[in-house]
């Protein structure tokens, strides 16, 4: 329901996993196979020589330090910034508005209906039900348009399709009141509250 970048997550996690796996396997091989050790000496020795040369040729005039260190530091700062931005993308997508549209009536202006209207109305309608151990309603923004997520925790033994159909009717009634069809997702889930509460026997 949120706009978590799933594909980006997969790609970045995959890259990190591959790199760590490669490093780990290399260390394992170095520890166990002597032939890998000689290959590693020549290969990494060559890279190290090149790096040394790069550092030597980029010294500040008259000082022993290389300005390449500053470049490295800036690159790392950028990397950290990118990581922070990546974390900030996770789980985004909650929104406040259910409807925000221009009203073509006599009074010029926009009409905005807060998501709290739907959340409060549905929560209130669901609070009285004896077959629910809990219900939460949230407004999300999916691909630029608002959507409702209704999470229900029914007691044990409640038929999910009947519950779903009744809550869907509630959503339809809400849509009729608001005057705009909001897509809704009903998640009927189980949790600790449903597992340890008494079973619903009447329905």
């Amino acid at each position: 329901m949120t706009s978590t970048p799933t594909l980006l997550n997969r790609i970045l996690i995959g890259i990190l996993g591959l790199k760590l796996l490669a490093v780990g396997i290399l260390l394992l091989l170095l520890a166990s196979v002597p032939a890998v050790g000689t290959w590693w000496h020549t290969w990494s020795g060559g890279i190290w020589g090149g790096l040394n040369q790069a550092f030597n040729s980029t010294r500040f005039p008259g000082r022993p330090e290389s300005w390449l260190w500053i470049v490295v530091a800036i690159a790392l700062v950028i990397l950290i910034g990118l990581m922070v931005a990546w974390i900030a993308q996770q789980g985004k997508g909650r929104s406040n508005l259910l409807v925000a549209e221009f009203d073509p009536g006599e009074v010029p202006g926009d009409v905005r209906i807060s998501g709290g209207v739907a959340e409060q109305a549905l929560k209130h309608a669901l609070a009285e039900r004896p077959d629910l151990a809990g219900a939460t309603v949230g407004t999300y923004e999916v691909q630029g348009s608002p959507a409702l997520k209704i999470r229900l925790q029914p007691r044990q033994g409640v038929a999910p399709h009947l519950l779903g159909a009744e809550v869907a009717a509630l959503v339809a009634a809400l849509n009729a009141v608001v005057g705009k069809t909001t897509p809704a997702l009903i998640h009927i889930g189980a949790g600790a509250r449903t597992r340890f509460s008494r079973a619903e026997r009447v329905r």
């Binding site: 780990g24 996770q90 691909q143 997702l185």
Partner: protein, 216 residues
């Protein structure tokens, strides 16, 4: 008694077709996201790991750039030690470190590659329902257990239902001396499942235990 009501409950209020058609692709995406686990937590762990490594590198690089002594290890020295690697460290330690790093890498890689399906089913109410419905397998199992229990006339503790993606296994331990007909239980569970119209449709298997329960 309850699965007779099912067919009436299915007749949910109809919506005008164009509206439903207009947001279909949107809902399919939402449903995919709800039935597959997100990698948000793993992504945060990965980002924090990279940030920690980069932060340490940044510290050493900055310290080096202004000509101060290194904090933990001189980068020069670290690189020389890495080049000379099999020497200088005990092979046991090196192998253990390699194994740990490879394991962490494998964890991240599998998280990225595996489909990550959640134990949930999509409940399609004939396609005319105004809302998309996703149900945890546990809820389906407890509803099926109830209908199986009513059909077999036993108490809740004698029925155990396991719901997986493509299979429903109903285990019934009958009360000693009171026979339970497998077909009745199967029919009740299948009735309930048909009313739910899950996607994907699971297959039902009923196991009636040969040993009965005494005093239930």
């Amino acid at each position: 008694m309850s699965h007779k009501l099912v067919d009436e409950g299915q007749a949910s209020p109809l919506e005008s077709n164009p509206v439903a058609a207009g947001r279909r692709p949107d809902m399919r995406r939402v449903l995919y996201r709800e039935t597959h686990s997100s990698r948000a937590a793993v992504a945060v762990v990965a980002a924090v790991l990279v940030m920690g490594l980069a932060g340490y590198g940044l510290l050493e690089a900055a310290v080096h750039a202004i000509g101060q002594p290194a904090w933990l290890i001189e980068p020069q020295l670290a690189a020389e030690r890495a080049v000379a690697l099999p020497a200088g460290v005990s092979p046991l330690l090196l192998g253990a470190a390699g194994a740990v790093i490879a394991m962490i890498g494998l964890f991240f890689l599998l998280n990225a590659v595996l489909p990550g399906k959640r134990a949930r089913h999509v409940l399609n109410g004939g396609g005319s329902s105004p809302a998309a419905i996703v149900v945890d397998d546990e809820v389906i199992a407890s509803a099926l257990a109830r209908s199986a229990r009513l059909a077999a006339n036993v108490i809740p503790e004698q029925v155990m239902v396991v719901v997986s993606r493509r299979q429903v296994i109903v285990n019934v331990r009958p009360t000693s001396g009171v026979p339970v007909t497998e077909n009745a239980v199967l029919a009740a569970v299948q009735d309930e499942l048909r009313a739910m119209s899950l996607e994907p449709v699971p297959e039902v298997r009923v196991n009636i235990s040969t040993a009965g329960v005494i005093g239930a």
